[in-house]
């Protein structure tokens, strides 16, 4: 499977700076369009979500990952395949909640924030919030309602970037097309 995923991605590799810079341009544009950071965060999450619901199809098509049996497996797929495939990084999975319904993705380096230096007047901006939206959107397409948020961010001076994911419930109704 990973092999196939590998082959799938080879052809699709591209200059990561283009992506990083484009994302940067988007964020700053939003900062111009909306007066306060909270709105920007919301907007980013929303856009991420829209990307996520489309991305999942690409993902399922290229990495023939089957249906995940539990949240832990999902976590693995996200970290080891999805992140690798799309951002070329492999975050580590940590701090499982005892209930096993909550975990953290630790990103040593986050390609979105290469070059970024947050100005002081954007202290409450969650720069990479798009990622949360993407994860949320993608998982929703495979019947998983999750809550995703940044709890640490190197941009804010934390040593690592940490994304916290919490499983909320299975969505039983309306299977979207293109699902398994």
């Amino acid at each position: 499977m990973s092999r196939q995923a590998g082959r799938g991605t080879e052809s699709k590799k591209m200059n990561s700076e283009l992506f990083t810079l484009t994302y940067g341009a988007l964020v700053t544009q939003l900062c111009k369009d909306y007066e306060n950071d909270e709105d920007v965060n919301k907007q980013l999450d929303k856009m991420g979500y829209n990307i996520g619901v489309r991305l999942i199809e690409d993902f399922l098509a290229r990495s023939n990952v089957g249906r995940c049996h539990d949240f832990r497996e999902t976590a693995d797929v996200i970290a080891k395949i999805a992140f690798k495939m799309y951002l070329g990084i492999t975050p580590s999975i940590t701090n499982w909640s005892p209930a096993g319904d909550e975990f953290s993705l630790i990103l040593e380096n986050n390609p979105l924030v290469d070059f970024v230096e947050l100005p002081d007047n954007h202290s409450s901006l969650i720069y990479s919030n798009l990622l949360c939206g993407v994860l949320r959107g993608a998982l929703e397409m495979v019947q998983m309602a999750v809550d995703v948020k940044f709890v640490q961010d190197t941009l804010k001076g934390d040593s690592v970037t940490e994304i916290r994911m919490k499983f909320i419930r299975r969505i039983e109704d309306n299977l979207p097309a293109g699902e398994e």
Binding site: T20, L21, G24, V27, F115, V116, E117, L118, P119, H122
Partner: protein, 139 residues
């Protein structure tokens, strides 16, 4: 070891200029500004040169009694000027080169910071630290 490092915009106004605090800042501003004369000269000369000669490093712009002034110009016509103490004779050309490369890389990162507005004065911790390191660094 560099006593003054400056980044100068296409339009020749300073984007960033810092000199070692012990020295009189104004003097360096004058030195760097004047050095632009030679930079212009070299660039226009360079234009006619062959491809392999069109390198970004401009070499020694001019020596003064106390300082040596070196220059470098990016393809985006941004100039780096570095002032080195003349007494610091140990410093070799290729070391200067590598320092300019470091500057250039660091500047490129600045340009890629979405919150930086190209053409504005540079205010960046990362850049400051890099410059400081070049001023501390003993050769």
């Amino acid at each position: 070891m560099a006593v003054c490092i400056a980044v100068i915009a296409k339009e020749n106004y300073p984007l960033y200029i810092r000199s070692i605090p012990t020295e009189n800042e104004l003097k360096f501003h004058y030195t760097v500004h004047t050095s632009l004369d030679v930079v212009d000269e070299k660039i226009s000369a360079m234009g006619k040169a062959l491809v392999d000669q069109r390198e970004l490093y401009l070499g020694l712009l001019y020596p003064t009694e106390d300082y040596k002034v070196y220059g470098y110009v990016t393809n985006s016509k941004v100039k780096f000027v570095m002032v080195v103490d003349s007494s610091n004779t140990a410093l070799r050309d290729n070391e200067i080169r590598s320092m300019f490369r470091k500057l250039h890389n660091s500047y490129t990162d600045i340009m890629c910071n979405p919150f930086y507005n190209p053409g504005d004065r540079i205010h960046s911790r990362a850049f400051d630290n890099m410059v400081t390191s070049m001023m501390m660094q003993v050769c």
